[in-house]
């Protein structure tokens, strides 16, 4: 392993949580001190090295101190104990375009922002065209930036930050910038960075993209370092440890309708071991059990199940009529199961919708949209992106 680009040595950072945040002089004089506050350790004795040339992920739940650590590395915050030693010029992409002066033109702001990020005038002049080109706002560069759309604003900010060519780049969950084409440009730029052997530190909650981008990762929990190592190992351990079983709940009204002759009491997700779970791996067996109560005898009822992504993309549905499972009639309480032998979904979180309808599927007895959720973790087949796994394979290379 090469030398460390950043050494984090016993870093602790304490924040003051003011019980009564009062910054007035009167309050200060009356109390005899500024204010009463409680101390809160955002970081506690964190030590690790970030090797030069690595793409390093910082993971952890909200409030675990990732961003605080990133700000300590960026020198925006000063640790109360310990120190951070960084070798080489450092640029932090925390909030893009934060130093822009709204009344000044884009051109003037490039020079202003660039110098704040540590670049001299000559270097900036040399890179100016590249920056403007990258941001894709050539025709607006002499307009005051207050007339820019928010997209143009961050694009220019990003273009400056990435083109000042730092040896170490700190990124805080900001890659959702601009349209797809611009995002692609950013990703390409990051790839170039890694190829050039520069160090990138990323804070993110998107485990999928972390896994594909980073080679090393550190996991923080409540300000303390839990684990540091290769991304695959750290992320797996993190996902395993932090996964909370979701309580299975039947959602309330707005997502439920139907005439009510038959009702769904519960929708259970059952894994290959026959145990109720809300967490599956790609390729694992999934059984969905619908507990129902038919308040009267109904002939040829049809049970329906559907899966959507969290943002509502409709991925799959199967009702029992298409599944060629049509009971003559049902009455009273009971349950029915639908089994998927191998769950062909890639890692993510998904919603389940369940319904009971009549044989014509035009009359709804009970319909529960998004009544339960489950998470899919990495399994087999292991594929690269998107919600569905198709089990593809590469081969048949021919050189002509």
């Amino acid at each position: 392993m090469t030398e460390a680009a950043i050494r984090v040595e016993n870093v602790s950072k304490r924040f003051r949580m003011y019980r009564e945040r009062n910054q007035s002089l009167k309050a200060a004089l009356m109390r005899g001190k500024r204010a009463t506050y409680e101390e809160f350790w955002a970081l506690r004795d964190v030590t690790f090295d970030i090797p030069e040339g690595s793409t390093f992920g910082l993971i952890g739940e909200n409030g675990s101190g990732k961003s605080t650590l990133l700000k300590c590395i960026a020198k925006i915050l000063q640790p109360d104990q310990g120190q951070v030693v960084a070798r080489g010029r450092l640029a932090a992409l925390l909030e893009l375009g934060s130093g822009f002066h709204p009344e000044l033109s884009g051109r003037e702001n490039v020079f202003l922002n660039g110098s704040i990020l540590g670049l001299g005038r000559k270097d900036l002049e040399a890179k100016f065209d590249e920056i403007v080109d990258f941001s894709g706002i050539e025709s607006f560069i002499d307009q005051p930036v207050k007339n820019y759309s928010s997209g143009m604003y961050v694009r220019l900010g990003f273009a400056i930050a990435i083109n000042i060519d730092p040896e170490i780049l700190l990124v805080d969950e900001i890659l959702a910038v601009g349209d797809a084409a611009f995002q692609q440009k950013c990703m390409d730029k990051f790839a170039d960075y890694r190829k050039a052997g520069k160090t990138v530190v990323i804070v993110s909650h998107a485990m999928g993209s972390l896994r594909s981008m980073c080679d090393h990762a550190a996991w923080l929990r409540k300000g303390q370092l839990v684990e540091v190592g290769t991304t695959a190992q750290t992320v797996d351990d993190y996902v395993d440890a932090t996964h909370v079983e979701r309580p299975v709940e039947v959602a309330a009204d707005p997502n439920r309708w139907g005439s009510g002759e038959a009702t769904i009491n519960d929708v259970e997700l059952i894994n290959a071991a026959g145990i109720r779970s809300s967490r599956f791996r790609t390729g694992e067996r999934l059984t969905i059990r619908v507990d129902f109560d038919f308040h009267q005898r109904i002939d040829k009822p049809v049970f329906g199940l559907a899966i959507t992504t969290l943002d509502g993309v409709y991925l799959w549905a199967l009702h029992s009529r298409d599944g060629e499972f049509v009971p003559d009639s049902v009455q009273g309480r009971g349950s029915v199961e639908m089994t998927v032998p191998a769950l062909m979904l890639q890692p993510g979180t998904f919603e389940v919708t369940a319904s009971i309808v009549d044989y014509s599927t035009t009359h709804t007895f009970d319909f529960l949209r998004n009544c339960t959720r489950f998470d899919v973790d990495l399994g087999h087949p292991r594929e690269s992106g998107g919600p569905v796994a198709l089990g593809g394979s590469w081969g048949n290379l021919r050189e002509l």
Partner: protein, 277 residues
Amino acid sequence: MSLSSDLRASREILSNLTMREVRGKYKRSFFGQAWSLLNPIASLTIYTIVFGFVLRATPPPGEPSGIDVFTLWLACALLPWNFFSATVLGGMSALLGNAGLIQKVYFPRYTLVVANMFAGLVTFGFELLVLAGIAVIFGSNIWIWIPLVLVFVALLALFGLGIGLMLSIANVYFRDTAQFVGILMQVWFYATPIVYPVTLIVAAEADMRENGNDFPLLWFYQLNPMERFVQIFRDLLYDNRLPPWGDMAYCLGATAVSLGLGAWVFSKYQARIAEEL
């Protein structure tokens, strides 16, 4: 890291931030940069009417220059005061006003306060040029005093900067500072012989002595470093004489204390400002 080596390293930032202040200030106003001259002309006119005509403050004519123009006499003190006031008040809000920047990017924080001072210096420089031109027209012989004027412009800038550095920090920790200082600066303005001659204070002390009160009014009055500064600028620009050595030494001392204290306070507390903002 010493302040001066740090200063050199951040020259680029400073020049850009200064440009931002100077260009941003009057952007989109119809008269643009002309306002930086129109503003002092307006206040000179007001003070000339109120104190020159209505209250009839009569400063002694320039000695040895022999000039006797109230407005010119006023400008020789008012313009340095305006610069000082802008340095202090602007410096005070420099950190708070750039909270977004401070919380997102690391760069030497004092550059914000220093850039504000430089922006004021640019304006003051133009004003001084115009003032010098007018003074020459009225018969002031300022040429040999130019080096000393420049020295005291620099000292005044550093004196104001020291106070600005202290207040910028105080303003982050106590938001009352801005209000408080606003009032204080008004008091300070009238406690400095800008719109009236210092001879009025001498006369007041003589009156008090006649009434059996031996209070050393003038001594107290002259503790104010700005009193010395404006007198020095008047000596140089209006009277064309060498200011008393004592005054010059006092200004130098006051500047050293202000800047030393300002730099100390600032470096002691700057580390925490990103989280206190």
